[in-house]
Each structure stands twice: as C-alpha cells, then as structure tokens.
Symmetry: C2
Amino acid sequence: MAERDGFFPQTSQNTVKRLPQRGHYDRATIYPILDAAFVCHVAFVQDGQPFIIPTLYARQDDSILLHGATTSRMLRHAESGGALSIAVTLVDGIVLARSVFHHSINYRSVVVFGHGRLIDAPEAKTAALAAFTEKLLPGRWDDARPPHPNESKATSVIAVEIESASAKIRAGDPGDDEEDLALPIWAGVLPIAQHYGPPIPAPNLAPDIPLPDYLSDYLDRQNQNAAP
Amino acid sequence: MAERDGFFPQTSQNTVKRLPQRGHYDRATIYPILDAAFVCHVAFVQDGQPFIIPTLYARQDDSILLHGATTSRMLRHAESGGALSIAVTLVDGIVLARSVFHHSINYRSVVVFGHGRLIDAPEAKTAALAAFTEKLLPGRWDDARPPHPNESKATSVIAVEIESASAKIRAGDPGDDEEDLALPIWAGVLPIAQHYGPPIPAPNLAPDIPLPDYLSDYLDRQNQNAAP
C-alpha cells in the first residue's frame, strides 16, 4: 500500500481490526502518544515463547530507543536484530455505560513493529542517553553529571526503527444503545490523569541546593495539562 | 524448584535477571499490583512474529481474565491455548539522581506466563463479566444493566492460569555513587500517581439521576490512596 506523507503504511500487521474507526496511522497522532508515556512494553520471541518486558524508552525521529545493561536478555535479542513489537498505553478515564456491555476505558495506545540495531558510535550513543534523560525531565541532561566512559560502556543502546505502527484511541462519552438511554442508571466518564506530587529531596541532599527552575516549571506544566 | 506457599516457582522464564534484588515471586506482592492497574499488555507469537496488544483484564484467583469480541486475533490465539506473556506496569515516580547513569523511575511491574482457555460455561462466563465490571468500578455490576444473551455471545472470555509470574519493584530515593553526593545537583524523586477528576455525566443522562454512592466513595478512596 502506498505510504502517504506522515503516515505509516497499513499492512495486515499493524491494521486495527477491532473497532477500526479507532485506528490511526499518522505520525501526528502516534508520536505525541509515544512522547507522553514513560514506560513501553517490548515483546519478543525466544525459542518460540513470547516474552514481554516493561522498560523506559525515548523516541528519536522515527526510532524508539531502548537501553539497559549490556547483559539484558531483551537488549541482546534486540541487538541481534530480532523482531520486536512495542506498545505504549495511556489510560484517560473509566467509561460507565448503562449496560455492562458498553463499559470501557478511554485510552490512547500505540503499537510499533520493528527490528533493533545497536547504537555504538560515541556521538550517537551520547545523543541517545541525552534523549532518555530529557524524556524523564526536560532540562535535566545539562544539569546532571554526564556518564563516565565505563558507565556508557555498561549500557547498551538499541534503536528500533518504526517500520509500522498504529494508534488506537477511545475518547468521550459512553456509547449506550438507544433502548438503554431511559434506564435509571448513572452513566458518564471518570477522568483519570497522572498527577505529580511535590518533589521529595534525597535524604542526603545538601540543604542549600534549590529545586531547579526547569523542574518546577515542568511540574506546573504537567499538572496543568493533566488536570482531569 | 520447590514451590513455597504463596510463591510462584522460580524458573529461567520468570526469574528477574537484571537487578535481582528488585524481583518478587509471592502472590502477596504480585496480586495487589495486578489488582491496581486497568490495562495489561498481552504478548503472543504468530508465524514467528511477536505481537503485543493492550487490553482490559481482571484477576480471578490464580488466573488473569481477558475478554473482547469473539473475532479478536489475540483472543482467538489465546483460546487455542497459545503461549502468552502478560505484563502490567504502574509508574510511581521519576528518580532524579546526580548522575545521568542513576536516573530511573519508581515502578511496580508484573510479568505473567501462561496459556489461555476459553470460559464458555454460562455461570463462569457471567462471573468473569462481573469481575471485569467490578474491576472498573466496585459496586457497578449490581447497578448496571446485565448483559443480554446476544451480548454475552458476542464476547469471548479467556482465563489465563498464572503458571509463573514475577514482580519487579523500584521504590525510594536515588542511588547515587558515593563520590557524586557532594555535587551541587538537586536529587530526589518526583512522585507520580493516577488521580481521578470529577465525574462527567453523559450528555444524555437524565438530570434526576444522582451520582451513585459507590462511585463517590470509590473516588474519595482512590484519590486519597493516590495522593503523591
């Protein structure tokens, strides 16, 4: 199938089959979801058995970066070019319909297919480590102590080029059947959002070290955006 | 390996290899994590390719229940007894160390291995549908309109017996190296928790239908527990 600008081609692999109206294939929908979550789940096959591993990640252009100890089974598999499927899901609310059948959640999820490739060149590896750090907290890379060579060496970085991807999104009100609308049952949505609490300084933090501006700004921004 | 009471046996499949001190194998640790999340990620193999699907689930004793349309590829695979790996992850905070290398998140995750089995007997199927509904909102099953026979028929329910499982947990302060403690860099944890916003009534909800007590009680409880 021809690829439109900004769209991933739809194949049998990535096409959303259940409730296809919830499926999206454009980067403009998929990438903000990838950028909003912290943890992805990576699936891979070893000796015919499916394995799934939750892990931190970062998106860099059209790739998902994974990292961890060089000894990680998942990373060794990814490094050897094995097929991966990676998913990210954000839960936005509980959908309470009048009927049990139409209960659901509001969510944004992305599923990616690709193959891993080791990032070994020093500059590319440093850029990847910066991407992980900046994803956790924008502004952090320039403040924190950079990796020592031995730390960098103990860390494998894998780039998974996004070969195909799809997003699936449910938003909005419950979808009750017409004949259920008059039932005397409360229906609606309970919004859910991730909120940040007040930062907890490390117990061994010197008391004269203030909270950095990039951190307090980030908290304000996240909690405003998240307000359900 | 002998199974202790309440513990899943440790095998090469479920043993936490990276940072083994974060691994747990007892039901008392694993089940509250499974009970706290809404979405799991199910990995399965088809034609040698790993697939991953985010989906709602519920735990019932030593099984994870999955459900969906009878046409779902994942459920058909599960129904046929194919091997599954299922993961659930809760993010509790961002861990900001002085060094980039020790940045992390606080999290609770569970990985389960098992095989699916169709739940077809009417009573067991109804009990499973109740478990899904009660997981979304305790008290909801007795209030919402029960499934019609055709709705029940259109839904596949699969039980995945938890054959092996592990939890992996990180909590608490950053783990900086001794020689980094004097660096003038803020270190600590940004707690993250899921908060519920005010319920949004369906636009077509009759104005005389009040918010049910089980719902407002649940919101209070969740938001108190979640307060980061």
